[in-house]
Symmetry: none
Subunit: 207 residues, 4 copies
DNA sequence: TATGAATGAGCGTTCATTCAT
DNA sequence: TATGAATGAACGCTCATTCAT
């Protein structure tokens, strides 16, 4: 019974924590780390500034945690797709499709993916980027394994290093999605994943 | 005679302007917009802070102009490559090579290319991104024309929309270069451009 | 019966009050008024912050009361010494000895005595200082009476106003004790009270 | 000529620095370190907050420098008194007189002398106290030398260790002055230095 | 009654910008 | 014209105090 009471309190705290992180994530995504003040986040989350500091020890910490959570959710979803018992072509198709779907549903949150080469003016950002990098690397390795497996079976040509191919696929989808966010009318992906896949599957020059 | 004096003055002013922009560009590239103060730029350029405000109306303006100049220089170099009287395959190969060379020579300045979807914390940055976007779009169209031309000649398969292909090529090179900057040992490009081209040229699955 | 219950409750409350004051006193003595937070005191006393505000209306109030209590205890001990039925020389000797002993036993609490001329940043401190001043004044008068009595008997020379002498003795002991706390090796008092008394008893220049 | 211009600038800067330090010193003396905000000091000195940070790198730094300057001025004046070519009795008399005069003229600034045993809540204060301690020690040694010299000549009795005597004299004057500040009517010193000296010179009990 | 989560005023500090020289 | 001293709004963060439970 006491355990239950404690658990309710904990759940309440967790809910508040999430609310703060959600407000922070939205604002950081919209205006960037330096463009958002703690006061602004507090207002958006309908808490006092002081309350933010109960849950997060600094602005940098809040930034990191709110951004990382979203990344983990996203990477997790993509990871699951690769575990399904289908052939390599289907896995890649599903991966591209899943990434597109996520973007369609979370258009406002995509800043996360920008984890390459921002500059080190703030250590919180650098740290976050490193963590995201690590997550991404792990996913890349899984995708590379799909390419490798397809090559072994003879389904895929050996047109390049599997890891490089994985990174290429990631980057193509990635940059198309960024373009699409800015001008959704102009780009076929994420609605039509085949446009992306064709670039990889069908060589521009065939022997 | 007076015209000449004025002109000399103007040239002098232009020289100073460039010096400030060079200092600004270096520092912004190293430490990011928020990581650099006007005082720092003034020190580096060996001018007084006040002087910076004679040439540029705000920090954001200086950021914009200094970054844009570098972009123009870079885009200009790539544009020239496409004008050379060679076949389509060679044009693409040269383009990829030129981009790589530029990176090898200007590793410290590459932040410029990050002109996709950064957030609107500062209107100057948004504006800059729009301008860079425009420049990039124009280059993309030229590259798309190369694909189109190759397809018409039958050199290239019609595996996708020429503009999409152009963007894909741009993005693959781009993200490989960013990866390479962080860990030069691990990536073949920019030293070996063929790794990139093979992905585009040789389909993973050939009919 | 009800009276007894109430009385027990009251005693319980008094016990809690003392616990808080003890914790507060220790911390204030160690780190000073501004160096201690209410949370810290609450933790040390094993109460919730809110509870502190049931017993004391503010931090300043708690500071005042906790410091005053210690002073009263100390002044009371010194006062008792003067009531013993011995001659004037012995009274002074015992007084100096008692003060020294108190310091030896309460080295960590001595900040109390610093009740001269601290600044008015917090009205609670000013008020406290006034109250301590009053206590001290009363003790000083008792000591002055010892001097006066000794002079009347002819044991003491009339080298100055008795109250001034009392204050001088107080100040000499006081400042030696403060010095001793910082560097116990270097000072003879409080171990050897005669060093202090000699200054008062034996004139530097004798007629 | 240029040297002169520079010197004028420097003098102007020095004047401003002194103005800030004067405002800071007054306020710190009145309300204590924690009782004064940088804004308050800026207002009092008729500068903007930012300007304070041009001259002093932090609040602690300003506190230290403003307090230390006053101490040095004061200690310097006392030191000079001891260098005059008069006998030991006169030296002590002059010292006590000089200290009294300083207090009469600078009644509002005396917090300086409180450099014993405040607590370490702020490192700036601790550091300052250490520095003041050192200055004071050096003066104490000079005064001790006067006692020693008087003892050698036979002018003074050997009633105690010279350094201890120096410290005693310092403390007696010191605490009388503090008392006097709070209630000038009641105390003879600083107007009449002999009251103090008699305590030291004429033993309460003479053999 | 006792709690401690929540508050928000107020702090020290920075830095883009201005303007008297 | 070029300067750089001076500005002050705005920031991240703390902690004495309150009040719903």
């Amino acid at each position: 019974m006491k355990g239950k009471r404690l658990s309710r309190k904990e759940r309440e705290r967790e809910r508040q924590r999430r609310e703060i992180m959600a407000a922070a994530h939205t604002l950081f995504s919209e205006k960037g780390y330096h463009g958002v003040s703690m006061q602004e986040i507090a207002d958006q989350a309908e808490f006092a500034v002081g309350t933010l500091y109960i849950f997060f020890k600094s602005k940098g910490d809040l930034y990191q945690e709110s951004m990382l959570e979203e990344t983990e959710k996203f990477m997790g979803q993509l990871g699951k797709v690769l575990d399904e018992p289908v052939d390599e072509v289907a896995k890649l198709r599903n991966l591209v499709r899943a990434k597109g779907t996520y973007f369609l549903n979370n258009a406002s949150k995509i800043r996360i993916f920008h984890a390459e080469l921002r500059q080190a003016s703030d250590s919180a950002i650098t740290e976050l980027d490193l963590k995201i990098q690590t997550k991404r690397l792990s996913l890349m390795k899984d995708v590379a394994a799909v390419f490798e497996s397809g090559m072994k079976k003879g389904t895929f040509q050996r047109i390049g290093d599997p890891y490089i191919l994985a990174k290429s696929l990631d980057n193509i989808t990635h940059s198309f999605l960024l373009s699409w966010i800015e001008d959704p009318e102009q780009y076929p992906y994420p609605e039509d994943p085949d446009v992306i896949l064709n670039i990889l599957f069908k060589g521009l020059i065939q022997d």
